[in-house]
């Protein structure tokens, strides 16, 4: 699990790289806690997530709630195939409400 941070002034973008699973849950939580404390709009880039499990989904859901409670935007972008599979399984797209680009072969 690696997280790349970039900042375009208005929004903080975190790119999750590798596994977003229980193995890195504590680390991810720590990183997100720091970012949330900055009280900025958040964008999570999921294009390089190779695997995501329940803990990963939970963290994203909780982070979204926390950010929106602060009055900041929270969006997920560039869902990788692994993320899409789980979103589909848990039928979470309406919950996150992010536009999802479905790759042609997965339809």
């Amino acid at each position: 699990m690696e997280i790349e941070r970039s900042d375009d002034g208005a929004t903080v973008e975190l790119a999750m790289i590798g596994e977003l699973t229980i193995f890195g849950a504590a680390e991810t939580y720590g990183m997100l806690t720091r970012v949330l404390s900055e009280k900025r709009d958040l964008r999570i880039h999921l294009g390089r997530v190779t695997e995501i499990d329940s803990s990963g989904v939970q963290i994203l859901l909780a982070a979204k709630r926390a950010a929106e409670k602060q009055g900041h935007a929270f969006s997920l972008v560039a869902h990788s195939e692994a993320v899409l599979e789980v979103m589909d399984l848990m039928q979470l797209s309406p919950v996150f409400g992010d536009p999802v680009v479905v790759p042609a072969q997965a339809a």
Binding site: I22, A25, A26, T28, Y29, T33, L36, D53, S54, S55, V57, Q58, I59, L61, A62, A63, R65, A66, V86, L89, M90, Q91, L92, V95
Partner: protein
Amino acid sequence: MNLEPALEAFFAEADELLTRMEESLLGLESAPDDSELINDIFRAAHTIKGTAGVFGFDDVVRFTHEVESVLDRVRDGEIAVTPDVIGLFLRNKDHIGALVRAVAEKTDIDDAQRADGETQLAELRVLLGKPAAVPAATGLVAADKPAVGASAPDMESGSGNWHLSLRFGTDVLRGGMDPLSFLRYLRTLGDIVHLTTVIEALPNWLKLDPESCYLGFEIDFRSDASKAEIEGVFEFVRDECVLHIVPPHAQVSEYISVIRALPEDVTMLGEMLVASGALTRAELERGLALQAGAASAAVEPTAEGEQPAAAVAPPPLGEILVETGAVSPGVVDAALTRQKQVKDAKAQEARSLRIDADKLDQLIELVGELVVASAGVQNVAQMLAQSQLTEASEVLSRLVEEVRDQALSLRMVQIGATFQRFQRVVRDVSRDLGKDIELQISGADTELDKTVVERIGDPLMHLVRNSMDHGIEPTEVRIAAGKSARAKVMLNAYHEAGSIVIDVADDGGGLNRAKILRKAIERGLVPEENQLSDREIDRLIFEPGFSTADAVSNLSGRGVGMDVVRRDIEALRGTVEIDTEPGKGTRIRIRLPLTLAIIDGFRVGIDKASFVLPVDMIVECVELAGATRDAARIRGYLDMRGEVLPLLWLRQVFDIHSDAPPRRENVVVVQFGQTKAGIVVDHLMGEHQTVIRPLGKLFSSLRGVSGSTILGSGEIALILDVAGLMKMAVSGTTVSQAELAGSAG
């Protein structure tokens, strides 16, 4: 990776399994109800499918799967075993063999074989009630599917689907269990029509433990799987999650109809629900635990210190199960109704009571004492010759007799269960012998003393096996003799003149008298020149050491002869008769006393002590006096009309000394089996109904005594064990001689 060695093993194993499958199928032809055979066949198909699956031999798996499905139905009794079905299975077996061979030789089966396989599959599907032509229809079904899913999702989430409500425990992730993996697996059992991820339990960010699980799911699930299978998906997290499985409506009515048809021996509510499939075993266990918890909670005060409701009964299981959502109220109602029906039926059928056998024995012992006491009263009444007392004592003694008869009848049990055991024996043994034999049972409701029932099993077993082994002719012989190929062995029981009669009969070849006589002469059992009647010849088979089997089979030739059967039956104070007609069959008739607790005794005396001998073992009584007496004393035996009769002085056996030796003695000639002996006593005191009381453990090793009885006078008399005494008489002759010689010199 080199699969070759494992493959070799698979081919060898498949070969062996198919051979066994064929053997069992052939066996099934003659025994279509043999569940073991059906199981064997099922296991063979199942193992082949399982292993082939491991190796990825999909053709074998696909074909064997259908065979296995049909076998499964056969095993459940839903499909009858007909010659046609067996024929189909035999062809299936050949086809599986062809498929396995093709894999082994890395070739394909030829077109004819392939066509044959498809035909067989179609036939199997017809048995399963599926449309026969599945492959052709695949295109249609595939085209249909999305349309249904897209156009009517609401209808689908209605009554046709299962509903699963799931809440995972907080620790599942830490244990390596990902709820998503179970959802993925669930999809292999059916379609997730609709799913809502429940995140209400997710705490605020700062309270979030990223390694805890807060998720839940509400799932509409379309599947043919059973409730237990669906629950099984979550087996590894079952203890840590809350799971409710609500069956589709159609399924509910299915459960209800299954419950209505449940066999009557399933009477517990939980078991009924599990049997119907409405409740899984795990749900039942949780429900029972809740019930037990509620029961103990009702006793202890609650944490808040509130007073518990006084002695509240735990809530009924049905209520708990409905409340926890494990089953729907309708199903519970159906089960309760069925339960009541069964209970009512049972209550009407048999108003019987189970009683500890020991209690019964105590009662009978007391009744025995009552008989004795009443005899005592009668003695006194006679002595006093007071008419009112005599009359009263007579009434008393008549009532006591009735009480005695009633009490003894309590020990009576039906012989049916004992007879029924032989069904299996006859089936197994006849298969071993290659004979077609059926067992006919009649009089299964005949009652006899519990002890007799327990001890008659072995002799009956021997007689039945003997009939099958020696009595019933080989099938060819039967057919040649114009008899039906299927032979009969009959067990029949009935009451006759105060005794129980058990017949073991067969319609076999009857006894071969010439052969029996020849054997008996060979063995020196009868002198060659003796002219024996047919009946006498027949009885020879009961002689010790007699066996007519030319080749001792492993069934009857267990080193136990018919003499042992006779001895066992005589030990129960019974008799054996034989009645045989060459070419027509043989009947062995066992006659047993109604009860063992009371016998007709013959009282004898030594000095002032009384002893009782069973009347039916006594042949005659002879006076022993004068010169004969002196000679007998020296020799230890008596010359009885040219026969040597070993003698036993009861006085010596029990070491009774008296100052004045008796002037006269009597010999009671007893017979046990073929052996006779004389028991020397002082007085003969006549017949006397005797209530047998067992001796205590302390005296269990005492030889020559089998029990005691109390006489009308209140005296105790020992009941003599004739068989034991006889052994002493026959073997101990020299000892008593030596002792006598010593005392004389």
